[in-house]
Symmetry: C2
DNA sequence: GTGAAAATGAACTGATGAGTTCAATTGCCT
DNA sequence: AGGCAATTGAACTCATCAGTTCATTTTCAC
């Protein structure tokens, strides 16, 4: 029996790229109707694939869900981490620099796939608590650490007055995202991006009122 | 006549407040396993009631869920609004007053039933979008308005420097709750209340750094 | 007491959906 | 062209569960 065939990358036997099609279709279907309501027949139809093919590649509905979540979350988290590369390092242009970062973070947050994963993780946190932890540990937790490092550097250079960088980092994102989740009904409806941008700028303003030097 | 025996004795038939027992049991079961995974047999067993009795009182699973959500949310929202009665009206003792309010809000937020409803609302936002809207309109939206009013009064009296009270209210709760949701995996696991308290105090501190006069 | 209303348990229906099987087909490699 | 593996469709098994039915039992108001 083909047991742990972790990746089939070694031999690209005459397979079409069914696997990717399945995962992408699954994300769409899961996002649209939720985990419990998504049937494998739906997903197979959406992917343009026969049902047994799904089992060939991914084994079970639960396994498929895990793959979809971790893969999509990894992609979304990667984009979020990239935002920090444009983080301001000098006091010069600090406010516009932070506003730029905040705007990009909001864009990442409101990205369709990103919202879909987040919503599904919340929705299924009872059924898949380990998945929730795993994604958080590899994403948000690392991001907060990285952001805290950037803030600490600014504070160290005297450009900000911050005692607890991790707390400041959490408060920064709390201020920037503010009521984004409720505004979009947790991603289940579109969000006015101009409104989101204003929230982000206001968040930066409050952050600087509190921590600017 | 076993006194203090809350469990139904073998002969507990007939009419009593079955309806309340059903709704309470349903909340527990829904919170424990989610809407889709909760069967009416489970709920009936948990309530100590026969399955047809549930249909007598509440008609259908969907209807039962709606009742459970709206009733529990109304109770939780009521408690949250009560917190505002102890909102400080004078500059005198402003910080401890706000810290007190923040602590109580965190307590409301982390209340077991409150978290259960919130988690279920998020989880089922795709299936019951109207329910989400209804609860939010009757709860959080009104709360933000009320909080904004209190803040505006303080600002008007010169005790705070606030231009946009609604935004300030949103930022206040964003700072106070901060990462509570992720800390508790959206309510699916217990939360260290000392840690939550520290987050709240830090949130008030940042709020006052930004808006204090 | 008596009788109607409410509650019970147990069995039943119908639908849905995960996961499997398999013979037939397709695409790709040498 | 031959061959191998992936793919396909369709039918099938098995389990779960919402919602119903009904004959029986219990409670309570009178």
């Amino acid at each position: 029996m083909s047991v742990g065939d972790t990746e089939k990358s070694t031999s690209d036997r005459g397979r079409l790229d069914k696997r990717r099609a399945i995962v992408e279709a699954a994300l769409r279907v899961f996002a649209r109707v939720g985990y419990a309501q998504a049937s494998l027949d739906m997903i197979a139809a959406e992917a343009g694939v026969a049902k047994p093919t799904i089992y060939n590649h991914l084994g079970s509905k639960e396994n498929l869900f895990r793959h979809v979540m971790t893969e999509t979350a990894a992609r979304a988290n990667g984009k979020t981490m990239e935002v920090l590369e444009s983080f301001p390092g000098e006091a010069d242009g600090l406010r516009p620099g932070l506003e730029d970062v905040a705007g990009k973070l909001v864009a990442c947050y409101t990205d369709e796939q990103s919202q879909a994963v987040r919503r599904l993780l919340y929705a299924e946190a009872v059924r898949f608590p380990d998945l929730f932890d795993q994604v958080r540990a590899s994403g948000p937790d690392q991001f907060i650490e990285a952001l805290a490092g950037r803030l600490a550097r600014l504070a160290n250079a005297g450009h900000l007055r911050i005692e607890d960088p991790v707390r400041a980092a959490n408060q920064f994102i709390a201020l920037v995202y503010e009521e984004l989740p409720t505004l979009s009904t947790f991603g289940s409806r579109p969000l006015d991006s101009r409104e989101a941008e204003k929230v982000a700028v206001a968040g930066v303003d409050t952050f600087l009122r509190a921590f600017g030097s």
